[in-house]
Subunit: 296 residues, 2 copies
């Protein structure tokens, strides 16, 4: 990865995640807050009609529409599918994009704190993660590199580099100052890092850092008809990035019965009880804690 | 107030407040859980189409449609206005209802814990509040008796007695076990109380209890065009029912400036930063802490 010349900050990819939407309003009024010496920065409102209707999306999840295959499919015509093509034309096109770095701002109802999600582990991303952890002690690094960038369906995958800033807990359609402040701070650190990376003037970084690598997704308990018959156990509610071991309680059925996790590894749940994942009956993601080498 | 012969438990008056909806499913499968010796109990799903669409409401807030005037107005014809008339026909009619006690189950995104909202302060309600506080140490009593029952627009005002069970914090469209358990427990205590009240076999109750009486509603900071220019200050986020004094910070403008509360009484904020109140730019309710005599 050479120099980053162009960056785009996207807010409101989900219309009811308010932090990014309000930060964009602020930055559009005061662009100097996100401008840096060595590259240009622009902003984009991902799903304005979702925001207008106070919904995550109108027809389908915008942040699942950015595989190369779907972007090239003219039969995908609903609002978010059309919006994805327009965003790809404006910031991309994916594979040979105008924008070098896409930073996509998200909220979660889960207690994930200020989390940065990386989609690949190259020099740029590993140095960024190590830098961020030095600057922001509460920050958490999640790695979702289970598929190649071209097959990723996330909006930020259309940049040469793509990052997801994921801050919670915040209910949908609410603005919490603590969450807004975290998102602002993390974004500022990322922009500072890019400047230093471009100038080859980064401070001394550690040789490695701790991260959480996505491993699998757990579904809520359901009966044969697909009806939910249980919920996330109160003992792991809000316990994102806390160790889950084989035999620990994970769900409570509506009958009162406890369900324990059966697993052969040390798991770190996150996105626990995220509101938006009920559509697909997803209860949480599980990660493995890993030590990642910083690539020079 | 004589004997309670008929009770109705309403869930899902707001379609994205999940605790009541799931408790109704459980109780409809096991009606013995809500049956008591001295009165009959039935359940009602307030806004099933709101739940289907995962929204608080389709056209307007169902829990604001129950004044006698609006119920009698044939020009009010949208989904929730029609649903209100149907519910009034089924449980009411307001003023001379079939149902003696309506218990309406709600969630809030605010950190209000297990709260019981009373609409009037007669023997039944004050004895219930004193009983509940003895049985459930975390319970909070809010009094909203600023208007007479006939002018109240809440669904539960169509019963001879009406109660709102209001439990949080829970994001919209999420089911938290801690919140579900609180709602279940509070409802069971209310049903137990009614049985004892009917049998005139209540235990010894204290002479008075502490409650929070609604006083006023604060709006979010807005500019002249009605655009929000600030948010709830992080120091009072989640601090429902904590003392607010003149000069305490209450809002943070998006410029970073702090706004302090100007008030000449000791206020107890609640419904702080409730998601559903953004429609009307409401930031929180303020109550006064009061000692209420139990009426014999």
């Amino acid at each position: 990865m050479g120099k980053i010349n162009t960056a785009a900050i996207v807010g409101g990819t989900h219309g009811n995640e308010f932090s990014g939407i309000y930060l964009l309003k602020k930055w559009d009024q005061s662009p100097e807050l996100i401008s840096r010496k060595t590259f240009s920065t622009e902003t984009l409102f991902g799903n304005p009609n979702g925001y207008r209707d106070n919904k995550r999306y109108l027809d389908c999840d915008l942040n699942r529409q950015f595989t190369e295959k779907d972007l090239a499919d003219p039969q995908l015509m609903n609002y978010e599918q059309s919006r994805a093509k327009a965003i790809n034309q404006h910031l991309g096109p994916k594979g040979d994009p105008r924008i070098d770095l896409v930073i996509d701002l998200h909220n979660t109802t889960s207690n994930m704190g200020p989390t940065l999600i990386l989609l690949q582990l190259d020099a740029f991303n590993t140095q960024l993660a190590a830098y961020l952890l030095e600057k922001m002690s509460e920050a958490i690094i999640v790695v979702e590199d289970q598929v190649a960038m071209e097959d990723h369906f996330f909006l930020c995958s259309i940049g040469k580099q793509g990052l997801i800033v994921e801050i919670g807990p915040q209910p949908q359609s609410v603005l919490r100052q603590d969450v807004l402040d975290w998102m602002d701070e993390m974004t500022q650190h990322i922009l500072d890092f890019v400047d230093l990376f471009n100038e080859k003037s980064l401070p001394e970084l550690p040789a490695s850092f701790t991260a959480y690598r996505y491993h699998e997704t757990l579904k809520l308990p359901m009966d044969e008809a697909g009806e939910r018959i249980g919920m996330v156990h109160k003992s792991i509610q809000d316990a994102d990035f806390t160790l889950l071991k084989n035999g620990d309680p994970i769900f409570t059925l509506f009958t009162g019965e406890e369900v324990c996790w059966q697993g052969d590894y040390e798991a770190y749940p996150h996105f626990i009880n995220e509101a938006a994942y009920y559509d697909n009956n997803l209860a949480m993601s599980l990660a493995k804690k890993v030590e990642i080498d910083v690539i020079r």
